[in-house]
Amino acid sequence: MPTLQTPHVLLLLRSWLEPRRGLLRRTPSFAFATLEGERFTLDLADPELVRREWSDAADVTVLTNARTLSDLVTGEFDPRRPRSEHLFMWSGDAAAWGELETLTKDATSARGAAIDHLRR
């Protein structure tokens, strides 16, 4: 399965989250760092939503890799049964994930099409 490049993952995240984030009760931020050297912050309060920079003030920090990010958005990453190529370590406010889940739970059907589009 081809790995989605991290910029594509970010594009997907933005397309899924941006139209719905106004419904959030709170707007947490997530700082991601990958072993490949990518750093970005998903900040639901930021008009830009995703910035290619690390934030020390994020509610959640995540250490992962490009493959895991790719599999995360394609639904092929099962945290309960990670494969050998997966890395996903996080810390911070667990409730922040709940907010993110609120935004993404209805994006399932859109994910497949968008991901297929990017993989072509």
């Binding site: 594509h8 990518e38 739970k105």
Partner: protein, 450 residues
């Protein structure tokens, strides 16, 4: 039923984007991607625009909604297309105008679909299509809530009938508004709760059972402790619960929960740990929640500054921000270059010009615009590296072409007051003016060159 040709989608989008650019429609690639994905996700046998698409379309600007309608039309086969017409007159009119403009370049089934749309468009008879059921427009229009006083105090709202005549106000005994006043719920006189959406000049009431599961869950999540909203919670649950059987929960991501595994072994080893060591751990141990400070220290060690030695213009060295035009972003596409999904927000390619590779423009923190393009050789771990060039590096033809497409992004000052107001409200003016100035300066420099 309507079918979609996935492989023709890209070229169609490119063409639509070109049309939209010529028409001065603000284009947002992020939202556009979401719309396109929503439409595509409906599959070959689905009604092209249904309530799922509507759910994603709500809250978008008029230009995007019109583009979604047009995309649907131009990707449809035949005349079975059931168009969803937004009852906002300006959106419908805009889509009609754009659709009319496509007649010159469409043929066969696509042209037939557009002709069908144009022939049958009637805002009074427009309908929402949901699960194959047609909902007459009047059922929506009748329920419009018009504010009589300061909003969002829906207690003061009045209802107008379908002829826009005031009717006896319902005793609105409960209300809640979310976000920035674009979405909320209100209890009507009958005791039934209904959602309302801000749509252009109107606020539309939408029954709870027509909301998506995500919207319902959002309402549920936002209720808080207000006693007067308990009835709403019960009604939301009544609608939502049947949808959330086990399969649906899995599909909607309800069961997505990041594993919280015991990392005692890893913690005991403590820092320092490098990437190789980390990946050498068993997979379950690499998926976990752990001490924040410890994790951050690892992240900092594993994520050194991205500025590579000998590459002073590598991406990490610029405090760049994405270029914003119009409502959010703007794609620039050449007629021969379909929309790309690189994540760049201003792209431009001129075949045969100095930089035929995929590239774009980015405004640096200091306000200077630079051309970027993928390096044909050098690669970063997860993709091509980028090179940045000053505008002066473009040849004159390229600068002229760039000037033309950027000029098309200018505020139209057209007849649509909503769009004009929205544009004026966005702080892109300075960026836009800077780009034009810099292009003009580069052009002048090119003209002076021997």
């Amino acid at each position: 039923m309507t079918s979609i040709k996935p492989k023709s989608q890209l070229s169609t989008q490119a063409h639509v984007a070109e049309l939209a650019a010529k028409a001065g429609v603000p284009v947002d690639p992020v939202k556009e991607a979401g719309l396109a994905a929503a439409i595509l996700a409906l599959g070959p046998d689905a009604t092209l625009l249904n309530e799922k698409a509507l759910d994603r379309v709500r809250g978008l600007d008029e230009g995007l909604r019109a583009r979604a309608i047009l995309m649907a039309l131009t990707t449809a086969y035949g005349q079975e297309l059931t168009p969803l017409i937004f009852k906002s007159g300006s959106v419908s009119e805009f889509a009609t105008r754009l659709a009319a403009s496509t007649k010159d370049i469409l043929a066969g089934a696509q042209l037939a679909a557009v002709n069908h749309f144009l022939a049958t468009f009637d805002s009074e008879k427009a309908f929402l299509a949901r699960d194959g059921q047609e909902i007459p427009l009047w059922t929506i229009a009748e329920a419009q809530v018009h504010p009589a006083g300061a909003y969002p105090s829906t207690r003061e709202a009045r209802l107008l009938d379908k002829n826009d005549k005031p009717v006896e106000p319902h005793p609105l005994s409960g209300s809640a508004s979310f976000s920035d006043g674009t979405f909320g719920v209100v209890r009507l006189g009958s005791g039934a709760w209904s959602a309302w959406f801000q749509n252009d000049w109107n606020r539309d009431l939408v029954p709870l059972d027509e909301l998506s599961s995500a919207s319902l869950q959002a309402i549920r999540d936002h209720l808080g402790p207000r006693a007067e909203l308990r009835g709403l919670a019960a009604q939301v649950d009544q609608v939502l619960s049947p949808r959330l059987d086990k399969a649906d929960r899995r599909q909607l991501g309800y069961e997505f929960e990041l594993a919280k595994l015991d990392l005692d072994a890893l913690a005991a080893s403590g820092p320092p740990v490098d990437a190789a060591q980390l990946m050498a751990l068993p997979a379950p141990a690499r998926v976990a929640r752990h001490d924040e400070g410890w994790l951050r220290s690892i992240i900092k060690r594993l994520s050194p500054p991205q500025l590579a030695s000998g590459q002073p213009e590598a991406i990490g060295s610029w405090s760049q921000r994405e270029l914003t035009f119009g409502d959010r972003y703007a794609y620039i596409t050449h007629a021969t270059q379909p929309l790309s999904s690189t994540g760049a927000h201003l792209q431009w390619t001129v075949a045969g010009a100095a930089f035929p590779s995929e590239g774009g423009l980015v405004e640096l923190a200091g306000g200077e615009y630079r051309l970027w393009q993928f390096d044909p050789v050098r690669r970063r771990p997860n993709g091509p590296d980028l090179n940045y060039y000053p505008l002066e590096a473009l040849d004159r033809d390229s600068l002229v072409g760039l000037r033309e497409v950027v000029a098309r992004l200018a505020p139209s000052g057209g007849e649509d007051s909503v769009m004009r107001t929205a544009r004026q409200a966005h702080p892109y003016g300075a960026s836009y003016a800077r780009l034009l100035q810099q292009i003009d300066r580069a052009l002048a420099s090119a003209d002076r060159a021997p």
